[in-house]
Symmetry: C2
Subunit: 500 residues, 2 copies
């Protein structure tokens, strides 16, 4: 047992060292690496991955995990949870024959440029045979991973959100169907009236950066342990709790884009910063799950960052930086602007109210695919029919329809639902937090210190040392309940759109 623990800890150290290399590579390649370097570097990355794989599947390490698993009652709580998770993942990894793994990786590399071309040229037929191959591999994968207690699409759902299955998600999305779909349709018929002149202005990137710095203070995004930089697509990455990095993309003609992407990524980042630092040395660091991570970014971006009270507190700073651009603009104009609901074909551009309906459509299609009830030849029709049904939109082409998201071309099924679940977690967590704090008052104080502290205590500190369902219950005192989310949306948008 003692020996097993030593082997386990030594291997963890090695895996963490490889993580540093991959963290630095990912950050570098997305922000500043020269375009010509990737050929040679990809060979080095291949070798690093191979060394990582060998470390992770070393027979001594495997044996140690098994020993620890058998005597897990004697372990501390964090290790008890960790060893179950690590063992589960290792068993899954080992079920995939090396030949399949290699063939699948090659397929992935081949598909990406084809997907991009298909999207650019509105050509689903070009993409279809590859999508079929991907799905065939994923079905084969599900067969390999099938157990007594879990099979089919549930396996994917569980991989992205441990403990959530079709039943859970159906319950969630049915609530949205019953309560949110009709409400969203009634909102979409109305128009927000506000002075829009400022939306046509150009906003200096230097000043936008200054505002990002200001937001960093407000959101307590510790400058000593973070980097904020630019990249094509915004993202968050971290190496433990002492090095958390986010990126944004500044658009001179769209001030809101960088503001809300920055707040969104700081939400993710604050989670990583506030995990118990002792977990840096374990395999239980980082966020608990995809949806729990998304809950933290959405809570900051939408529930706090787009609230009226947030902007009555901070709009003066924007006006100070952009006096000409915001001449004659009131804070109410700005709040309406950043909360307007618009029928949109594109998920990533969707407003807060309709976002999860885009996700619901993808969830329904994925369920059909993996219960063998979807006809790939007619997938665009299915897509378009569901957009009509739930969003009242007539999709005009596949580029803005079924080809808009990269996920399926990367074999990622079961991931989308976590985006919507995250928003719903956020509403439930917000509701619980509001019992302990007066959130509006806290926001008015100018700093989100108390909110960061509450999230640290009730969510962040646990890292991945507990399941998301457990953390949600600890934080909110109850099981997942999607009605908080729908209640929040209906209340917010009824007020904004003056619906009785």
């Amino acid at each position: 047992m003692e020996n097993a623990l030593k082997i386990y800890q030594d291997t963890t150290k090695k895996l963490k060292a490889f993580h540093l290399a991959m963290f630095l590579h990912g950050w570098d390649s997305s922000t500043e690496a020269p375009s010509g370097c990737m050929g040679f570097r990809s060979l080095q990355l291949g070798t690093l991955s191979e060394m990582f794989y060998r470390t992770n599947t070393n027979p001594d390490y495997e044996a140690a995990i098994e020993t620890l698993y058998q005597s897990r009652e004697q372990l501390e709580l964090v290790m008890q949870h960790e060893i179950v998770e690590v063992r589960k993942n290792l068993i899954k990894t080992k079920k995939i024959p090396l030949a399949d793994y290699v063939a699948y990786s090659e397929l992935m590399a081949k598909v990406y440029p084809i997907y991009v071309e298909a999207k650019q040229t509105n050509n689903y037929e070009l993409y279809k045979p590859y999508l079929r191959q991907i799905i065939d591999y994923r079905i084969k994968y599900l067969e390999l991973q099938k157990t007594e207690t879990m099979k089919g699409y549930n396996i994917f759902l569980d991989e992205f959100e441990s403990g959530f299955n079709i039943e859970d998600y159906d319950h969630f999305f049915n609530t949205l169907k019953e309560r949110l779909v009709p409400f969203a349709k009634s909102v979409a018929k109305r128009k927000l009236i506000y002075r829009k002149a400022f939306t046509k202005k150009q906003f200096s990137v230097e000043k936008q950066k200054a505002f990002a710095k200001y937001l960093q203070e407000v959101f307590c995004f510790d400058a000593k342990r973070t980097v904020i930089k630019e990249s094509e697509h915004p993202f968050t990455t971290s190496n433990g709790t002492t090095d958390v990095r986010i990126t944004t993309h500044y658009h001179p003609d769209n001030l809101a884009s960088a503001i809300f992407s920055c707040i969104h990524e700081m939400g993710h980042g604050l989670y990583e910063l506030q995990v118990n630092p002792a977990l840096d040395f374990t395999q239980s660091g980082g966020g608990a799950s995809m949806a729990m991570h998304e809950s933290q970014s959405r809570l900051m971006e939408n529930m706090i960052g787009r609230s009226e009270v947030f902007w009555t507190t901070h709009f003066h700073k924007l006006q100070e930086l952009f006096p000409k651009e915001f001449k004659n603009t009131t804070v109410h104009d700005f709040v309406k602007y950043v909360n307007q609901v618009e029928k949109s074909f594109i998920r990533t551009e969707a407003d807060e109210l309709t976002y999860s309906l885009h996700i619901m459509i993808r969830y329904e299609i994925e369920k059909l695919i993996f219960s063998h009830k979807a006809d790939l030849d007619k997938l665009p029709d299915l897509w378009n029919k569901l957009y009509k049904k739930y969003l009242g939109i007539t999709v005009i082409n596949d580029t803005t329809g079924i080809l808009q998201d990269v996920h399926w071309s990367q074999g990622m099924f079961g991931y989308f639902p976590t985006y919507a679940l995250g928003s719903a977690y956020a509403a439930q967590i917000y509701h619980a937090m509001n019992k302990d704090l007066n959130i509006e008052k806290t926001i008015q104080s100018g700093t989100l210190k108390d909110i960061a502290q509450w999230l640290s205590t009730h969510v962040h500190q646990y890292g991945a040392s507990k399941d998301p369902k457990t953390i949600l219950k600890l934080a909110t005192g109850e099981d997942f309940n999607p009605n908080y989310y729908v209640d929040y949306l209906i209340e917010k948008y009824s007020k904004l759109y003056e619906i009785q």
Copy 2:
């Protein structure tokens, strides 16, 4: 043999993968990593170093090297050279007992802050006992590494410049003593007359960056394979020939600083870019030696970058960027400014003419230390005496005297001489290149394409696949001859200072 080659190549791949990690870490930590991240990261680095060490001393790898070494006549030329070098380094590594290695690393970590304090407070006595410990370790190291054919200080010299020993360096520095010391003294008595008003101006960092971009074009520093960024101290780093990065530091009150550090680092960088790309996959990539690397940076910085013809060609660009700052300044004023000789205590601020005399002083002291003829108690006196003798300067305190350089506190002895040797190589290479090209005419053309091409063919392409002495002979047709260097300096400064 075939099996040995496979093991050798597989291990090389792994070592290259670790190199990527260390390259990214070094770059990141010097340019943008958050200050708080190093505690946790240093543990990961420790693990990476340990994995690197184990890979490098794996018994199978060692046996493969021995097999290849025994049959080296059957190997291709590059591999023949490489296997000799790799075997030599491995034998050296293995001669150090692990306990010594650990104790020495600990000492190094302890000394640095003490060295910094001693320098800041002008307190040699504080530093002295640690310097003594470092020297004792280095003497022990020399004992361990002693062979039939090499012992003492020669071992250090050979490590930094393969093939160069005390005899070679004595010959070099004696030439400087005889010819350069008296000339430099006569120059130091004179003053360059020029309009200096521009030296008191402030120069916008944004515009300095624009000039760096311009220089990047002039020096053919391929934008697709390079990054130029900022850091506290300028440096060059690379990951093979497809990713070469330099930094500079912009001073608003000193335009020349960033210009010449940028050109200097591009000289290093161009070398790395132009190594035969096939060597990326071997252990013979990168530069041939410290001095050969320095020769390329000094050739670009001093012989080209500070030449009159360079500035008659490019001064218009500076004037275009800084019209106000350079009002009433002629190109001749600027050329005098960047070439003026000033008595300086500080090596890193020394002018081109006297730089190597600073190095000569360090070389003499190092020789005395490792022949047990230096009294550490009186080392500052020795330092000051030599500054008086060779540079005619009375050193005012140890901060600007013996404590100015960090090298000895890091155990680096035998390194300094390569700085001066590099300048001397540069002059000999320039002389040879000028027979094939008309260098002045090439500079006037506005691009250094032909010079880059010549250096690629005659120096860069070989990487570390040959010894520096061999490359110098191939490039210039003769053995090292320090007179080219002295001739060049005397000609340049006689003209500038109007000395007949």
